[in-house]
Symmetry: C2
Subunit: 242 residues, 2 copies
DNA sequence: CGAGCCGTTGAGGGGATTCAAGCTCAGTGG
DNA sequence: CCACTGAGCTTGAATCCCCTCAACGGCTCG
């Protein structure tokens, strides 16, 4: 487990600028705050930067921090009683992580960076205080909770239903939503795909290879790929037709 | 879709008694309220009674009501793009249903009674007002949201991971948690089990029959069964060992 | 009674796993 | 420099699990 606070802003001025200019402010939790609210928390916000594969927190740890994803993809995973891990959800730009902290409860899952990721961290006490006089922030928190719930249920109905090929196509569809402006998607390792779709890594590899041969997917170096949107849609429709 | 308000309490006195004596008050959302708070909402609470199989609300409908489960089991299900349904979560005694209403958003899933069920319904506006001056209620709401999220993620890692037999054993384990004092569990129809575990109803039937022959399960009339706790634990351990 | 729903069971086929081999590539140390 | 190693990926062959198609029995209900 590695937490890497890149740096903590020393002057209020610096952080005020950073928050005001934050590209995810409209998306993020703290986007619900006005300038006055931002001024109150700016000293407490820390920027956290994670390398791919690094753990943000582990299941069972007492939650003390709340995070907003600025960039990158974070996965939530659990270890089943048989010992194998299962990835249960992804979080991307604008998503809230570590809400359990607000309830003074232990984190439910491990949170691991899939790609290099940038997050904003704020102590739970500060959020507590802000909530007291700020119904909009409370509302925004609830919206994030609901969003996480719907992401989780969607994961189940999309990625844990039907034959392996269809689950893989839906995964690619979901990963494409997290794609950057360069249209490149993050393509997980084969055993990670297995942990997402309940497959062995060999089966995941076979499916990926077949989609590559079919022209749905173009592999570009390790962990990177480009999806052909039209071909993907067609393949999905063919799966769903029958 | 059928909503069956059994009766709406006419006198404040009646509802005040009912709330104060409510067996799920300690568990339920409104358990966070003191007597004064209860007095304010008692006129708005409606008791809802559902027969098994009846729909409480449908996905996509604008949420206007918030519910607490007093007794029975309610399932959340979605229809995948291929047309088959997938059960994504269960709610039991003390669980909160229809939180989306608080956000003025459409319900994410169909909510259907699995067993005869009793719920308390309260309009979202009333909860909104109460939240304003009641941090404890807000906290309680967040706890329920987190509980739903963990239930959903647990569903994925327990019931959508590994071979069919193990998923079935874990389902029985989960259903046993919802058992009444008579130790009887609600045993879903075979196609419902299929929708929970991503199986065909034939496979579900085969697995149930085998567990019955093995003495893990005793079928007692339609939709009712008794699980042998020790045998279930043993079977689960054997599955997890290897 | 026949129709329909629910559950059970069998036979056969197909899809995913298991076991295995071989490939590339990066890192290590001789 | 190159052999050696291990991780990640691919592919093949055999096996097994689950699905598909099918038949049948119990039950309720029109």
């Amino acid at each position: 487990m590695t937490i890497v606070p890149l740096f903590r802003f020393d002057t209020q001025h610096e952080q005020a600028q950073a928050c005001a200019a934050c590209s995810v402010r409209g998306l993020s939790l703290f986007g619900a705050l006005d300038e006055a609210g931002l001024n109150r928390i700016r000293a407490h916000i820390a920027k956290v930067e994670l390398q791919a594969g690094k753990t943000l927190f582990e299941a069972g740890a007492r939650g003390r921090g709340l995070y907003t994803v600025r960039s990158g993809i974070v996965r939530f995973e659990r270890v089943t009683e048989r010992g194998d891990r299962r990835i249960v959800r992804l979080a991307g730009r604008g998503d809230l992580i570590g809400q359990e902290g607000l309830l003074r409860r232990a984190y439910a899952d491990d949170a691991v960076a899939c790609t290099p990721a940038q997050l904003c961290s704020i102590p739970v006490q500060v959020v507590d205080e802000l909530c007291a006089g700020n119904p909009a922030l409370v509302h925004e928190l609830m919206r994030r909770w609901q969003r996480a719930l719907e992401e989780s249920e969607g994961w189940l109905s999309d990625l844990a239903t039907g034959p392996a090929r269809r689950r893989m196509l839906r995964l690619l569809h979901k990963l494409a939503e997290h794609a950057g402006p360069d249209e490149l998607i993050w393509l997980p390792q084969r055993d990670e795909i297995g942990a997402m779709l309940n497959l062995t890594f060999e089966t995941a590899s076979r499916l990926i290879s077949r989609l590559r041969r079919e022209g749905v997917l173009a592999l570009l170096g390790p962990r990177h790929a480009r999806v052909e949107g039209a071909a993907l849609q067609l393949a999905l429709r063919l799966e769903d037709e029958q």
